[in-house]
Amino acid sequence: MIELTSTPMIIVAILGTIGVLIPVISVARKEHGSSSFYGAIALGALFASIGYVIYQIAANNIAPAAIFTEDVLADDTFGSLFAIAMLIVAIFTTVGSFNYMRKKSHPAVYFSLILLSTIGMVLIAYSTDLVMLFVAWELMSIPTYVLAGFMKKDPSSNEAALKYFLFGALSSAIIIYGISIAYGLTGSTNIGDVIQTFATIDSEMLPLALLAIAMFVAGFGFKMGLVPFHMWLPDTYEGAPPTISALLAAGTKKAGFAAALRVIVMGSIALSLDWTFALGVIAVMTMTVGNIAAIMQKNLARVLAYSSIGHAGYILIGLAIAPYTAIGIQGSLFHILNHAVMKGAAFIAVAGIVTTLASSHLDKIKGLGRSMPITSLGLVISLLALAGVPPLNGFWSKLILFGAALDAGAVAPWTPWLAIAGVLNSALSLAYYGWIIRKMYFEGETEKRVREPASVVAVMIFSIIFIVGIGVYPDPIIQFVETAVPSLAVTP
C-alpha cells in the first residue's frame, strides 16, 4: 500500500482537509462576503503543498522518471513536475481571485472547489492505475463545471458551464469505455500491468487494444483541446470567470497531457503501434487551427483560448516523436511547465482587466499600457514568451521541441516538417500577439492610470521574474525535466 507520507497522499491530506473545511467555516461564521479570508486559507494550503513537493525532490525522497508501481499511485519525478506546474497555476488562480471575488457570493465554496480540483489534477499525474486516474479525472472536472458557471446571473457563464459539462461528460464516458476495454483484455486496471499485457497481446485482440488506445486519445484529447475535439474550448474560456479560465487553460489541460503520457504513449509503444505519424498530423492541425482562428478574434480571452489550442499542438510534437528521441518528451514537459506560467499569467491579467474595465474586448484595451502599466507589462511578457521570443522561457522549450523534431529526422524523415510547421505557427502567433501589444501601447491617448488590483499585480511580478529568470538561466529546469522523462522501454 502507498505510504501515508508519500507526496500525493500528503497533498490529498492538506488540500482535501482545507477544501472540505472552508465551506464548513463559512457556515459556522455565518458570513458571506469576505473573500480574502477564505482565499488566504486556500493559499496557505497550496503553499504548504508545493513546499512539500519541493522538499521531497530536494531530499531525494522520490523515484526518478515515471515509474509503474504495483499500487494506484507512484511517488515519482514525473508526477512531481506536473504537481509543481499545477500547484503554481492553482496559486495564480487563488491569488488572482482575491480581487475578482470581492463582493461576489459564496467565496468559501469558490476557493474550496479550486482546492478540490487541484487535488484531481495533481493525482492524475501520479496515477499508475486506470481506476485511480479516472476518479482523479472526475475530481478535477466536477468542481470546474461548477466554477465555470459560478457567475449564475451571467448568461455567457451559464453557456460556458453547460458546454464544458456536456463535452466533459462525453469525454469521461469515452475514457471509461477505453478503461473497460483495457480491463476486459488484460484483467487488470494497473497501468503497468496493462502495458505489459498489451506488449504480448494476441493478434486477434489487437483491434480491441487499438480501440482502447483510440478511446483514450479522444477522451484525453477533449481536455487537451486537440483538434477535432476543441469545439467547446473557446466559448468556455470566454464565458467562464477569467480566473477559472486560467485554471482550465493552464491546469486541467496539462492534466490531460499527464494522462496521455502515462497511458497513450506507453500503450502505443507496448502495442508496437506506429501512432507517431497520426499524432504528428493532429499536432500540425491543432497548432494551425488554433493560431489561424486566434487571428480572427475580437476578445482577449478568446484569443488566449485559441492560442491555448495552438500550444497543445506544440506540446503534442514531443509525444509524436517520443519513440525516436527522448529530447521530444523533455521538450514537451518543459513547455508544459512554461505554458502553465505563461498562460496562467495571461489569463490572470485578463481577470485584472475585466475587474477594472468590465470588458476584455480588444477595443477596450486601447492605451492599457498607460492605464494599467504593471498588468500590461506582465501580459506583454507572457505573450512574447508564448510566441517564443528570446530570451524568455518559451523560447527555450520551443527550441528544444523543434530541435528534437529536426533531430528525429534521421530516423523518421517526416518529423522535420513538424519543426517547420511549429516555427511558421510561432511566427503567425507573433502577428496577433503583436496586434494586442500595439493596441495596449500605441493606440488610445487619453487613458489615465487606474488603480490595479493588488493580487493581479502580485501574480504579474512573480510571472515576469519566472519567465525572464528561466529565459536567462534555464539550466536548472532543463536538468530537472531530464530526470522526469519516462523510460519508454517496455519489457514483455
Binding site: 477544501g19 494506484v72 485511480m132 476518479v135 468542481p143 458557471g149 494476441d202 486477434e204
Partner: protein, 170 residues
C-alpha cells in the same frame, strides 16, 4: 434463451434511452430514463454480476431516477433556453452515430472476442469490498472528495440569489 433476453434488453435499453432524449414531457422522459437504467441492470445480470445489477437498481433506478422525477415535478418546468432545432444537424448527428456504431461493432466482431469463453466463477462481491479498502483506498478517499465538491457546488448553483437569509429564516 440468452440471445432472446439480450435482444429484449437491448430494445428496452436503447428504446428507453431514445425516448428519454426525445420526449417533450420531462416527466415521461424521466420515466423512460428509469427504463434505460433498468435495462442496463439486466445486462449486468446476464454477465453474471448480480452484485453490480443490485446496485444499478438500488442506486440508479431506485434513487437517482426517482430523485430526478421528484425534482422535475417540484420545480418550474417552463423552458429556460430558446430551443433552436436544425434538422440538418439532427440528421448529421444520427448519421455520425450510425457510422460510429457500425465502425465499433465491426471492430468488435472482427476481433477474437467471440471465441472467448468465460468459465470462471463469478467474482465474490466481498473481494470488491476488500479491494476498495486495500488496493483502491486512495481512490475511495477521492470519491468522498468528489461527493463533497459535488454537493457544495450543487447547493451554490441551486441556491436562489433573490431570497435573503432573513426571508429563509421566516
Amino acid at each position: 434463451m440468452v440471445d432472446a433476453t439480450f435482444l429484449a434488453l437491448s430494445v428496452l435499453t436503447i428504446g428507453s434511452a431514445i425516448a428519454a432524449l426525445e420526449m417533450r414531457s420531462l416527466i415521461y422522459g424521466s420515466i423512460a430514463l428509469m427504463g434505460a437504467l433498468g435495462g442496463v441492470a439486466g445486462f449486468f445480470l446476464l454477465l453474471d454480476s448480480p452484485f453490480v445489477a443490485m446496485f444499478q437498481i438500488a442506486v440508479y433506478v431506485g434513487s437517482i431516477a426517482v430523485l430526478i422525477l421528484f425534482t422535475v415535478m417540484l420545480v418550474r418546468r417552463e423552458l429556460i433556453f430558446t430551443k433552436v432545432e436544425d434538422p440538418r444537424r439532427r440528421y448529421a448527428g444520427i448519421g455520425l452515430m450510425l457510422v460510429l456504431m457500425v465502425g465499433l461493432g465491426s471492430l468488435v466482431i472482427d476481433s477474437g472476442l467471440k471465441s472467448v469463453t468465460a468459465d470462471e466463477p463469478p467474482i465474490d462481491f466481498r473481494l470488491i469490498g476488500e479491494d476498495f479498502l486495500t488496493y483502491y483506498w486512495p481512490a475511495l478517499v477521492l470519491m468522498a472528495l468528489i461527493l463533497a465538491g459535488s454537493v457544495t457546488g450543487a447547493l451554490v448553483l441551486a441556491r436562489r440569489e433573490d431570497v435573503t437569509d432573513e426571508q429563509r429564516a421566516d
